[in-house]
Amino acid sequence: MAGAIGFMIRLQIKTRVQYRVAFLLNRLAQIIAYASAFSAIWVLIHKFETLAGWRWPELALLLSFQLLGYGVGAALSFTQMRDLEDSVRSGRFDTLLVKPFSPWAYLVFSGLNLGYIGHIVLAVGMLVWSLSAVAIDWTVFRVSYALAALASSAALVCSMLTMIGACAFVLTRSRYLYSIFFGLWELTRYPLNLFPAPLQWLLLTALPMGFMNYVPVAYLLGKPIVVVGELGGVLAPLAGPLLVGLAVLQWRYCIRRYQGAGG
């Protein structure tokens, strides 16, 4: 299985290298688009000095966690799961069920989206810059916490996007749910203490996107954390693995109930 996955990834790389210029242009455009959206936030902070008590380097750290977690997590899920409803409706998905290979692993790795490298490049750049500009007293615990939080962030995005996609097995449609995800995802560019309490609760319980970046970054910076408090901060890196577990259960449940899109 590992060999097959390695082969699929090599194929993806070969395909992308075929259209090198288009690939690079697309990544450049994405980097410009994200940089512009972040610049709008920078303009805001430049004018008002802080946003809900956060200065620009702190906010840049928040943004880099969000973008890095998303870039890695979505590479392993988003386009594959978004297009799942098409293969369910056309019946192409049924052919995966009879293969001696996990349908999830086949979908994810045969469609591995290398395009997210643009997100990752920008996010790592911002991460390095913001870490040099904020004052964090680095200890072995904090370094391992930060690394675990980043991995958890990617796992969180990947499981949420996968859970939305798996709805296609039962509903035959799931694409419109992604616009709800991305509408809320944009909110994680800001510290959650900015928002009204119901929204804070929503983003830390039912749709736990706040654990992607707000909770771990606020914890690292020693800021008060809304709703879940400092204990929630310490435990934040567990949110990713927990949601992965939920996503696995939901995927299995949906596959068991899956009867094909036809009658």
Binding site: I32, A33, V43, Y176, I180, L187, P196
Partner: protein, 262 residues
């Protein structure tokens, strides 16, 4: 005939109801989170650069919802599909002008979104947070003209970017690039008043400023009547420049189709 095209676009949108609900939800989240941001940064400040919090709430609704109601990305994606499948050639056989056909169809889409998304959001915010009326009758009337101009400039920019796909063969990068330019420079989120002095002179004269910033600045009475007319004229000049760009690109693009057909 173009009226029928607009009507059919309006009715097509009705067919995608679950998508519409998700979209309305997303737009509601957007407008409320922008209001939360302005409430937070204004705090106890009465005014910042001569702008008050109630004015910023009105700004968030007008620039973020009303003037952004039209989905420009769908136009670029549609052109991309028409190019890559070859459907675009069909339009050359029909007795209509492709850019005009798109304009009519997008007018239908805009009307639909005003009815389905803009009206409910404007009413909700007006009842919950309160919206300011236009500064005067003249400013209110001028806002409607600026709104039409804002749509026209958005349409021409998107069409220009979409037609560039004839040469680049990928609309993906063009769509992202335009998204970035609009997010920062149109003032749909952060008004151009708040930009650092070193760049305001430039950003206030790019065509993007007429998409979000000037229409709302006019509505709120931040421009004197002579300024309103001066900036309206400048905006029309930009629309004319973009319009001629579209015509030139479209003529060249049609030649390219013939060449590729052999």
């Amino acid at each position: 005939m173009y009226g029928a095209v607009a009507q059919s676009a309006f009715q097509t949108q009705l067919a995608y109801r679950s998508q519409l609900w998700a979209h309305i939800f997303g737009q509601f989240i957007q407008v409320f989170f922008k209001i939360a941001i302005w409430q937070s940064v204004f705090g106890s400040l009465a005014q910042v650069d001569g702008v008050s919090l109630p004015q910023m709430i009105t700004y968030a609704v007008l620039a973020g919802t009303v003037l952004s109601a039209w989905e420009w990305a769908r136009l670029i994606q549609g052109i991309d599909v028409a190019i890559s499948t070859g459907d675009i050639a069909v339009f050359l056989l029909k007795p209509l002008h492709y850019p005009l056909y798109l304009l009519a169809s997008e007018c239908g889409n805009l009307c639909f979104r005003v009815v389905a998304i803009v009206v409910p959001i404007v009413l909700t915010v007006a009842l919950s947070y309160g919206l300011l009326p236009p500064a005067s009758l003249l400013h209110g009337a001028a806002f409607l003209v600026f709104w039409a101009l804002s749509f026209l400039i958005q349409f021409l920019l998107s069409l220009l970017f979409g037609l560039l796909a004839f040469w680049l063969m990928t609309a993906f990068s063009l769509e992202w690039l335009l998204q970035g330019l609009l997010a920062l420079l149109s003032g749909s989120f952060v008004p151009l008043w708040f930009f650092p002095d070193s760049v305001t002179a430039l950003v206030r004269h790019l065509p993007f400023a007429w998409i979000g910033f000037y229409p709302v600045a006019v509505y709120l009475g931040k421009l004197t009547p002579p300024q309103v007319f001066a900036y309206l004229a400048l905006g029309v000049v930009w629309a004319a420049i973009l319009g001629s760009g579209v015509l030139v690109l479209w003529r060249r693009a049609t030649l390219r189709i013939t060449v590729q057909g052999g």
